[in-house]
Every structure is written in structure tokens, then in C-alpha cells.
């Protein structure tokens, strides 16, 4: 058990170091969310308080913070999946499987790396937001709950990336799913409130799990700790994370069974 934990830690650290050593992998997950947050804040700064249905909020930056955190995790999750696929393509995965390393550690290590990066990213984004004038109404406890939500989101998204890597064995195929994540993000309330949407777009945002996840995080920032949205967000993301882990486990077994 202790050995498996140590192996998980070592593989998680390898995953984190691998991302930190490839700036082209790290850059998009930091740059795009921050730039979009800055652009949206300046473009829609007059929206709170003037547009009917817009929730009461101190400023648009407070509103936009949660969307940036989720966006960073979505991009980072694709990177984690692609890195796992590169391990498969390069033969490192086969060598790991042939070694006495715990098989659970192989998956948990990569997921752990994704979670660590997502939490660091969330801390960075919240810090940048606070430096530029945002205020987290939930205080330190609110930030901690936000980090838990971020960690579970990272498990769900990285898990999906790893699942795709195990099924396809191709980094290109995993990277190809990025537009899907991007679409999921835009067709949700990540950047603007659902209350201002209409028609089929609102119907899609209403059934998009990202909406509930981002609203749980946003409520911690703009209103404080409210049990209902937080619990809904936790339930949604826990379900997604569990489904992703089960899918990874099954795909892992399938790949092992198929290998000669």
C-alpha cells in the first residue's frame, strides 16, 4: 500500500515536471483563460446592474473568475490526456506495465499530476483576479471549496483525456477532442449568466454540466458559501469524476487484455 502510494507520487511528480518542462503544453492553459478573462471583463464591464437577469455582483471580474478556472482545467486536462497518449506511443507505458509498478499507480499518478496542476492553476487565477480587484465573498473557506471543485473537475477532465488516450493510443486523437471541450465551455454559463440566454441556446446551457460546475464556483466568489449551488456543483462534478475513473479503469483493462 505504502509502495503503491510512493509510486503514485513519483508518477504524479513526473507528470507535473513533464508539463512544466514543455512550455508549449503549459502556455495555452494559462494564457488563454487569463486573456479571455481580461477581454470579457473590459468588454462586458457595464453588464452587471444594467442588464435584466444579470446576478448582483461587484464587478464583471468577480463574475468571470470561475469561467477562467474551468477553462484552464479543460485545456490542462486535454494536455494530460495527450501526454499519457505520448507515453503509449513512445513505449513508456508498455515498460511501466511490464515493471513491478502498481497498475493503479499508473492511472492514479497521471490523474494526481493533473489534479496538482489544476489546483496550482486555480490558485494562480484566483490570485491574479484578487490582484486586479476581484473579491472572493466566501473567504478562505470559499477558496478551499473552490479548490476541491477544481480538483474533482481535473479528475473528470484528465480522466476523460486518459480514457481517450487508452482507447486510441494517439496524442493527435486526444488533442483533437479539444474543440469539443471548447464548445462545451461556450455552450454553458461559463462566461455569461444563463438568465440572459434564450431559446435553444439556453436549453443546451441548462443541460450542460459545465453550467452547474461553474455556477457553484462562481457563487463562492460572488455570494459566499451557499449550500444549494455548492452541493449541486459537487454532486455533478463527483458524478463526472467517478464516471471518468471507471471509464479509465475499464479502458486500461481492455488495453492490457489486448496487448500480446
Amino acid at each position: 500500500m505504502t509502495l503503491a502510494l510512493r509510486q503514485t507520487g513519483a508518477l504524479a511528480w513526473r507528470s507535473v515536471r513533464g508539463t512544466l518542462r514543455t512550455p508549449q503544453a503549459l502556455f495555452p492553459s494559462l494564457f488563454f483563460p487569463l486573456v479571455l478573462m481580461a477581454i470579457f471583463t473590459s468588454s462586458f464591464g457595464t453588464a452587471p446592474g444594467t442588464i435584466p437577469g444579470f446576478p448582483p455582483v461587484r464587478g464583471f471580474l468577480d463574475f468571470a473568475l470561475a469561467g477562467a478556472v474551468i477553462q484552464g482545467i479543460l485545456i490542462g486536462g486535454t494536455t494530460a490526456g495527450a501526454a499519457f497518449a505520448l507515453d503509449i506511443e513512445g513505449g513508456f507505458f508498455d515498460r511501466l506495465v511490464a515493471s513491478p509498478v502498481s497498475r493503479t499507480a499508473i492511472l492514479a499518478g497521471r490523474l494526481g499530476g493533473g489534479v496538482a496542476l489544476a489546483m496550482a492553476q486555480a490558485v494562480l487565477f484566483v490570485s491574479v483576479g484578487v490582484i486586479f480587484g476581484a473579491r472572493v465573498q466566501g473567504g478562505v473557506a470559499g477558496v478551499l471549496i473552490l479548490l476541491v471543485l477544481a480538483a474533482l473537475t481535473a479528475v473528470a477532465v484528465s480522466g476523460l483525456g486518459i480514457f481517450l488516450a487508452l482507447r486510441t493510443g494517439s496524442a493527435e486523437a486526444v488533442q483533437g477532442t479539444f474543440p469539443l471541450f471548447f464548445a462545451l465551455l461556450f455552450f454553458s454559463s461559463a462566461f455569461f449568466p444563463r438568465e440572459t440566454m434564450t431559446g435553444w441556446f439556453k436549453a443546451v446551457a441548462d443541460v450542460n454540466p459545465i453550467s452547474y460546475l461553474v455556477e457553484a464556483m462562481r457563487d463562492l466568489v460572488i455570494e459566499g458559501i451557499e449550500p444549494r449551488p455548492t452541493l449541486i456543483g459537487l454532486a455533478v462534478v463527483s458524478g463526472l469524476a467517478l464516471a471518468a475513473v471507471i471509464a479509465c479503469h475499464l479502458a486500461f483493462r481492455r488495453r492490457l487484455a489486448a496487448s500480446p
Binding site: T46, I51, P179, F186, F187, F191, F201
Partner: protein, 275 residues
């Protein structure tokens, strides 16, 4: 047609034509045609330039519709307001394609064969420029058709023509930028650099809201960004009718962009063969 037979055909074009200008035009047209048929042969290269503007149109107009309730929008539909943004992005992608195709040709050796052929060197950028303009016509048509499906009618004939011409001009500017990058880096791996700069140029303008609504740093950056004036002219053509007040700033901005980025592409072309 293989790359070598293309080169041979381009050489024959010189023998069959008279003046050097006509020859350059024929070779450029040949290269533009080669670039265009890649759309059919490698749809994965062209598809993003078609899908992204449509995605931007649908996602932006759906997600941010609420902002159009502000008085600065004067009751305009946000879908109609977003159509010029999608057109500009489509044109930008058409331009990026020119750079990516050129980078691929440099990596694959086609450009080396062209350089030693009798084809004038300027055709290396003139051909992809023509192709970028023609591709932007296609993306503009697709975006305007999507707008029609969404209930936004076409503006008048002259305004529709203005939308196409503004799109062609921006595609040419984006192509010059992307080809300048391709000629300097000589690798298709520089594609993200081509894309990021065009994305930033478009999104740090009046992409999501008019200048009256912008606040903070973006208000200043948008004032200095040439894409702002292109978008404002396109929006005038789409929503109210293009007047001289919107047209001349767009013409100045596009001329400046084309002069600077054209020089960037030409100096990149001049460096070809030095390394």
C-alpha cells in the same frame, strides 16, 4: 498533379506568355489554384477555417446575447452584430491557411524547386495571397448564409459587396502575416504563432461590444487596433448601411495593415535562400 509537374507547368507558362508581369500573374494564378485544390485533397487543413467562424457566430451570439440589451446596441440583434466578427475570423483563418500551406511547402521541398525554376520569386507570396482572398469569399458566403438561416437578412447589394471586399482585404493582411512567419521559421510548427497573433488582434478590438461599452485597458487598445475600424465598417454595412464616416477609417487601417504586413512578408521572402 505532382509537385514536379506543377513546377514544369509553371516553367512552361513563362515560355508561352509575353511580359514578365503577365508571366508572374499566370504563375501566381497557378499557385493559387494549387492552393485551392488542397481544400478538396486535404479538407482537414481547410475545415477549421469554415467551422471556427460558424462556431464563433453561434456561440458568441447565443452566450452573450444579453449584452445587446444595453442602450449602446440601439436594439440591434446580437446575431447580426456578431456576423462581422465571424466574417473577420473566417477571413483571418483563410489568411492563416496561406501561411500554413507555404510552411508545409517549404518543409516538403516544393518551394526549393520553385525557387530554382524560372518562376518569379514574388509568385511565392502572390499565389497564396490570391488563394486567401478566394477562400475568404467562400467563408463570407457561408457565414452570411448561416445568418440568413438565423433570421438575419442580407444587407443591400453595395453593403454585401463591401462585406466581401473587407473580408478579402483582411484575409490578405492575415496571409501576409502568416507567410512572413512561415518564411522566417520554415516550419509548420509555427502555426500556433500565426493563429495566436490573429486571434489576439481580433479579440482585443470591438469583437464583443461597441467602443462605447468597452472599459479599462481594452478601450485604449481597441482605439489603436486596426481591426476595430474594419469591424466597425463591417458592422455598419451589416446593420445600418456603410457610410463614409465608417469607410475611411477602415480604408486607412487596412492600408496601414497591408503596407506593414506586406513588407513583413516581402522581407521574409528576400531572406529565402540565405540560410
Amino acid at each position: 498533379m505532382t509537385s514536379s509537374s506543377h513546377t514544369a507547368a509553371l516553367g512552361r507558362a513563362r515560355r508561352s506568355s509575353g511580359g514578365s508581369a503577365r508571366h508572374a500573374l499566370e504563375v501566381s494564378a497557378g499557385l493559387a489554384w494549387r492552393s485551392l485544390i488542397l481544400v478538396r485533397r486535404m479538407p482537414s487543413v481547410f475545415l477549421p477555417s469554415l467551422v471556427m467562424p460558424l462556431f464563433i457566430l453561434v456561440a458568441t451570439s447565443g452566450a452573450f446575447r444579453g449584452i445587446s440589451l444595453l442602450p449602446a446596441f440601439d436594439g440591434a440583434s446580437y446575431l447580426a452584430f456578431t456576423i462581422p466578427l465571424a466574417l473577420v475570423m473566417g477571413a483571418g483563418f483563410a489568411g492563416m491557411n496561406a501561411g500554413m500551406t507555404l510552411a508545409r511547402d517549404i518543409e516538403g521541398g516544393f518551394v526549393d524547386r520553385l525557387v530554382v525554376s524560372p518562376a518569379p520569386r514574388i509568385t511565392l507570396i502572390a499565389g497564396p495571397l490570391m488563394a486567401a482572398g478566394l477562400r475568404s469569399v467562400f467563408t463570407t458566403t457561408v457565414v452570411l448564409t448561416a445568418g440568413l438561416i438565423g433570421g438575419v437578412g442580407l444587407p443591400g447589394g453595395v453593403d454585401t459587396l463591401a462585406l466581401y471586399l473587407l473580408g478579402i482585404a483582411f484575409a490578405a493582411a492575415a496571409a501576409c502575416w502568416a507567410m512572413g512567419v512561415a518564411l522566417r521559421t520554415r516550419t509548420v510548427q509555427a502555426a500556433p504563432l500565426m493563429q495566436v497573433v490573429i486571434f489576439l488582434a481580433v479579440f482585443t478590438s470591438v469583437a464583443y461590444a461597441p467602443r462605447d461599452v468597452l472599459s479599462g485597458w481594452l478601450a485604449t487598445v481597441a482605439d489603436l487596433n486596426p481591426v476595430t475600424y474594419l469591424l466597425e465598417a463591417s458592422r455598419a454595412a451589416e446593420l445600418t448601411g456603410l457610410g463614409w464616416a465608417e469607410l475611411w477609417p477602415a480604408l486607412v487601417a487596412l492600408s496601414a495593415l497591408l503596407a506593414v504586413l506586406g513588407t513583413w512578408a516581402l522581407t521574409g521572402l528576400a531572406s529565402l535562400g540565405r540560410r
